[in-house]
Amino acid sequence: MKYMLTIFGPEGGMEDATPEQMKAEMDRWAAYSQETVDKGAFVAGEGLQPSATATTVRIPENGGDRTLTDGPFAESKEQVGGFYVLDCKDLDEALDWAKRIPSRAGAVEVRPVMVFDES
């Protein structure tokens, strides 16, 4: 089964990091990503630019004009920072990966990917 791990967390915190600290942080994520590949779980995964770069398109229920707003869908201290889509045996395996996400704070939402019939 495929699961999407959506990573939420506080933004920033790395502005004053030294290049060495930045590299250590990147290395932790790279190691995690590499492990998902090595274990055959990796399907997709990306890190996102900060939520300040987001633009939200609002879709009114009654077919009215779609409007743009500057900023993320939800104003919140914790924002989506990235995601993985992983192929796992079951929820326990997906939760195992989620528990090991290298984030320093925040949350990871684990959701199964819907399966459609291609035929």
Binding site: D90, R111, M114, V115, F116, D117
Partner: protein, 382 residues
């Protein structure tokens, strides 16, 4: 179509605008059926469905789960931490306990429709989220077992401190929890916390006949007619506690506390010093103001009201918990501080005649409807 036939009886929640999702899901289930690697998942669904269909099929379902390994897998599935505690309890009672949806609804003071929907949602999550139907691996076992034990203890407590007034259902819940704890002990022999939970339930349940008087009022532990305690359960419970030597876990400590009460013939012989120490140990591994309160009461019994009051006054977060105020009132009264005692007693009474409405799951924080009188501080283990 097959899916619609399979899941209709309990009423799939009518989700507005769910048409697309429903079509997609039907297709998904078709595909699921064809997919060899997911075959197991279908079996789980069919297993769960077979166990929780109409009432007439319950007996056949119960038979199918007599295989201990199947029951064990089912316990772990029903008590998966990805399900919310309410759902775990309901699923466990429905699929393993064989209670009807109506009975479970009545036990938890909710409508049958609400409970049915809760069960449908839980089953849907098991299916759609891929919750496995297997005994967890050795490394996952401790965490997963914690969830199973907590669920069984919730079931038991619901029977013991029941929100439902139906005595029959209450005793059924407690019996059911004990029966499931036995299954767990048979299939995971030697697990100390599983053993401790069974001991704890047996020792508490042994007092069931002495706990209420003829008018249904709660009888304080110190006032209970100990000849009405169930000797068979006490003997079995104490023997299990003896096997726990050296084990430090929340259920082991609680079982030892229950054993201290069970092993003495009269309330005056109670070893309050040891009980106080055990509560102290318990607060270190499971910090909780309610446990602090119990510790303070034990200390008051052992060293006197002054020492107990000092501990009680240091507790934070129990301002809306009636037993906290009643216990304080009792100790203040014994110290001759009558004005303060009356005020504290009033506050406790206020809270217990206006019970705080809250989820019945937070066992420790529930205010009791029982009309406790002064001296209730000794009822903490009633």
């Amino acid at each position: 179509m097959v899916a619609l036939e399979r899941w209709p009886a309990d009423g799939v929640p009518d989700n507005p605008g769910a048409w697309i999702t429903r079509v997609a899901r039907n297709k998904a289930i078709d595909r699921l059926r064809r997919d060899q690697t997911l075959r197991v998942k279908v079996e789980v669904l069919e297993g769960l469905e077979a166990l929780a269909p109409g009432a007439e099929e319950v007996e056949a379902g119960a038979e199918a789960t007599d295989v201990p390994d199947d029951r064990l897998r089912l316990i772990f599935t029903c008590c998966h931490p990805a399900l919310r505690p309410q759902a775990r309890v309901a699923l466990t009672l429905r699929t393993l306990g064989g209670l009807t949806t109506a009975e479970i609804a009545s036990a938890f003071l909710t409508s049958e429709a609400t409970m049915a929907q809760r069960l449908v949602r839980a089953k849907a999550k098991i299916r759609d989220a891929g919750i496995p139907y297997e005994v967890p691996s050795a490394e996952q076992l401790p965490e997963r077992l914690t969830s199973v034990l907590a669920t069984l203890y919730l079931v038991f407590n619901e029977g013991y401190f029941a929100s439902s007034s139906d005595a029959l259902i209450r005793s059924e819940l407690a019996d059911e929890a004990i029966r499931l704890a036995r299954v767990l002990n048979e299939t995971l022999p030697g697990d100390p916390e599983a053993r401790a939970l069974l001991a704890l339930m047996l020792l508490q349940h042994s007092r069931r006949l002495a706990r209420l008087d003829e008018s249904g009022e709660m009888v304080l532990l110190s006032d209970q007619d100990r000849s009405r305690w169930d000797r068979g359960q006490i003997t079995e419970g104490l023997a299990l506690v003896d096997l726990l030597a050296g084990v430090v876990g929340p259920y082991s400590i609680q079982a030892r506390i229950a054993a201290e009460h069970a092993r003495v013939e009269a309330a005056e012989q109670t070893d309050w010093r040891r009980i106080g120490l055990l509560y102290g140990q318990l607060t270190r591994i499971q910090p909780s103001p309610v446990i602090e309160l119990n510790r303070a009461i034990a200390v008051a019994m052992d060293e006197g009201p002054e020492a107990g009051l000092e501990l009680i006054d240091a507790i934070e977060g129990l301002d809306r918990y009636a037993p906290f105020h009643v216990s304080r009132a009792d100790l203040l009264g014994r110290l001759g501080r009558n004005g303060e005692a009356v005020a504290a007693y009033r506050r406790g009474l206020e809270l217990s005649t206006n019970p705080v409405q809250g989820p019945s799951w937070s066992a420790g924080s529930r205010s009791s409807r029982n009309k406790r009188r002064s001296g209730a501080s000794r009822s903490s283990l009633g």
